[in-house]
């Protein structure tokens, strides 16, 4: 320091000092920390109240980000079980060749099952009943008004398995029924109730346009393709035999894959199904869960983050106010420090450090409380608590920044206090 000071005098053409050179005042970082902590702790109750605003602001901030991250991860896991493992393949053959209403080969299920990562795959379409009588009755006779109307869905056994139905009675039809085109149906529990079918012990039949079908299964829930619940589901080969191929296209394939295999399966499926005409298919992989999460959470999150920001502003005003009062209260102390060799800058930095540590302390407590809130909510809901590490790292820093900004004006005021005036008190 001495060297620098001497050189400065020389450079500016000042006279060289004959007497001893004044050593500059210093304030070591450790002393600064000690002094500001002592200043903060000398009125603990007031400091605690002052920090409350920051605690609330930062706490809300952490809790909101943590809760949204937690719920997002819940959404993620739900999508990863259902959507992320689901590939839909559309038959667009008719758009390219009008003589190909159904591009899926007979052995489509078996071809897909050979692909690595495929768990279940099946072809389905909704039977076009515009030109035929498709009234559903529980007896072979009756006029049109007494019948039920519902979609008749042709579905190979792979679709049923991929949809993961919950069977109330009976069992879903299998590959045998498909191969031999058995007249069997699977219906939802609602349809069964309307048709008066209460038990499958008696091998009840239902009639579609007068044709008898044996009801082999009643289901009350599916994990995928919820419209199956409201439909009458018949094997693909049976539907083809009775109503023919879907004349206007519209057949689809539902593929359930192993976790993480969906994208790959979607890429390979068209070639696996029709090596000669892969262009007849359009495979739709599952949507990116991240975009889904963004859509679900962004609105509410923004609202709460705004609230957190308001809390922080209130906290900052509180700190600014208290620090200003403290500056006025401690005028004598400021004068004393100036008399002891503190420069205005040292006073500024001390008060800034005090308000900054107050903010940082509030931030730390707020971070802890926010994290606890997230954990508590997650435990109550049986979720996995997720708080992003950057959130936890940034939150006390936000508190510190709030404190520093709040302390700017009071600290500046403190440095402007004239020692001579201050000491007269």
């Amino acid at each position: 320091m001495n060297h620098r000071r001497r050189r400065r005098f020389t450079l500016r053409g000042r006279r060289h000092r004959t007497g001893p050179v004044v050593e500059p005042s210093v304030l070591a970082p450790r002393d600064l920390l000690g002094e500001s902590l002592a200043g903060m702790l000398q009125r603990p109750a007031r400091s605690a109240l002052t920090a409350l605003g920051t605690v609330l602001g930062v706490g809300t901030f952490v809790a909101i980000l943590g809760l949204t991250a937690t719920t997002s991860s819940q959404i993620d896991s739900r999508f990863s079980v259902l959507t992320a493992t689901e590939v839909n393949i559309e038959d667009i053959g008719i758009e390219q060749n009008e003589f190909v209403p159904l591009a899926f080969p007979k052995d489509a299920d078996a071809r897909m099952a050979k692909l690595a990562g495929v768990e279940h795959a099946g072809v389905y379409w909704t039977v076009d009943t515009r030109n035929t009588d498709a009234t559903i009755r529980s007896s072979p006779i009756g006029d049109e008004s007494t019948g039920e109307r519902a979609n008749i869905v042709a579905a190979s056994p792979g679709v049923i398995e991929a949809a993961v139905p919950h069977v109330v009675q009976g069992r879903v039809y299998d590959a045998y029924a498909e191969r031999t085109a058995q007249p069997v149906v699977m219906i939802g529990s609602g349809m069964a109730a309307r048709l008066g079918i209460t038990t499958l012990q008696t091998r009840p039949a239902l009639f579609i346009g007068g044709r008898p079908f044996t009801v082999v299964a009643i289901i009350d829930d599916v994990k995928r393709k919820a419209d199956l619940l409201l439909s009458v589901v018949v094997p693909r080969s049976t539907a083809e035999k009775i109503w023919g191929e879907p004349a206007t296209g519209g057949a689809k394939m539902l593929v359930a894959t192993r976790l993480g295999a969906a994208q790959q399966v979607a890429k390979l499926a068209p070639t696996a199904l029709r090596p000669d005409h892969p262009e007849y298919f359009k495979a739709v992989p599952p949507p990116d869960p991240k975009t889904l999460r963004g859509n679900v959470t962004s609105d509410l999150q923004q609202l709460f983050l705004l609230l957190a920001a308001i809390c922080l502003v209130i906290g900052a005003v509180g700190i600014a106010n208290t620090t200003l009062v403290a500056v006025l209260e401690r005028t004598g102390e400021i004068g004393l420090r100036r008399a002891l060799g503190a420069r205005g800058g040292h006073i500024t930095i001390q008060f800034l450090a005090e308000s900054g540590s107050l903010g940082a302390l509030g931030g730390l407590i707020g971070t802890s409380l926010g994290t606890l809130t997230v954990v508590g909510v997650a435990v109550a809901r049986d979720w996995t608590p997720v708080v992003h590490p950057t959130t936890v790292a940034a939150a006390p820093a936000i508190g510190l920044l709030t404190g520093l900004v709040a302390g700017l004006y009071p600290a500046w005021r403190a440095s402007r206090i004239q020692p001579a005036e201050a000491l007269r008190r």
């Binding site: 050593e23 005042s25 002393d31 420090r337 002891l340």
Partner: protein, 271 residues
């Protein structure tokens, strides 16, 4: 504070002679004060602790207020000088100038031979912190810190090594007779003890000058006497002591007394 130098002669200050009548007449350097005895070890005579050369302070107007008339004053090392004056006489202004809390508008003020007029603000602050030990009427102790911590505060800004501070604070407190109350809070100390802590704080950074502003103003006569006794003791060990007071009894304790009235400083001849 407000002073009117023009009425000087009308007062009955027969026992005082003007240190320097502000009329521009030449003044011998170091007017007043006993001559410094030559050092036994033969080292060169140190510069006076305080040397005012035509130092004055006028608050800029309008109208300009001359708070402290230009004067000369020299205080040698090891002197015990009291400055006496009624309230409003310019004592505070003198204290502020001598304590480097305020810069004079005229003249040259040498502290330990350093021309304080050429110093920048930060250097004046540093000089104040290192060379001047302040003792105030209202003690100015931090209420939530022990005696030792209060004394240590004086070493924060002048770069004393942390490791030494505790020991030096203890030594200073022992020097003022408070070796048994190191960890007491100021609120648990009597007025006299508080002022002793303040004196220890002023001493601990080994200043050239102990500058006391009404050090006994808040004390009863017994405590005041003991504090003045302490100052005399310190003087006896070679410390330069400057006491500013309005109390003639206190002023009489000084080896040399300077009177200030209406902003004019005069040497007071011992009766």
């Amino acid at each position: 504070m407000r002073a009117n130098g023009g009425r000087r002669s009308s007062r009955g200050d027969d026992e005082t002679v003007a240190l320097r009548i502000p009329d521009g007449s030449p003044t011998p350097p170091r007017a007043g004060g006993p001559p410094t005895p030559p050092r036994v070890d033969g080292s060169p005579t140190p510069p006076p602790v305080i040397e005012f050369r035509q130092v004055g302070l006028t608050y800029p107007g309008p109208p300009p207020v001359p708070a402290f008339r230009p004067c000369d004053l020299t205080i040698e090392q090891g002197e015990f000088v009291t400055v006496i004056g009624p309230s409003g006489s310019g004592k505070s202004t003198f204290l502020n100038i001598a304590g480097l809390l305020d810069a004079p508008t005229e003249g040259t003020y040498l502290l330990d031979g350093i021309d304080t007029g050429t110093l920048k603000d930060g250097d004046r602050t540093a000089l104040r912190g290192r060379r001047i030990g302040f003792v105030f009427q209202s003690f100015h102790l931090l209420p939530h810190r022990s005696a030792r911590e209060n004394v240590q505060l004086a070493m924060v800004y002048n770069g004393a090594p942390r490791a030494e501070r505790g020991r030096r604070a203890q030594e200073a407190l022992e020097q003022v007779g408070l070796g048994h109350r190191l960890d007491s809070l100021p609120t648990r100390l009597s007025g006299g003890e508080r002022q002793r802590v303040a004196i220890a704080r002023a001493l601990v950074s080994r200043p050239s000058l102990l500058l006391c502003d009404e050090p006994t103003g808040n004390l009863d006569s017994r405590n005041a006497d003991s504090v003045l006794g302490l100052l005399e003791q310190l003087h006896a060990t070679g410390m330069t002591v400057l006491v500013i007071t309005h109390d003639p009894a206190v002023a009489s304790r000084g080896v040399r007394t300077v009177a200030i009235r209406d902003g004019v400083l005069r040497e007071q001849v011992a009766v």
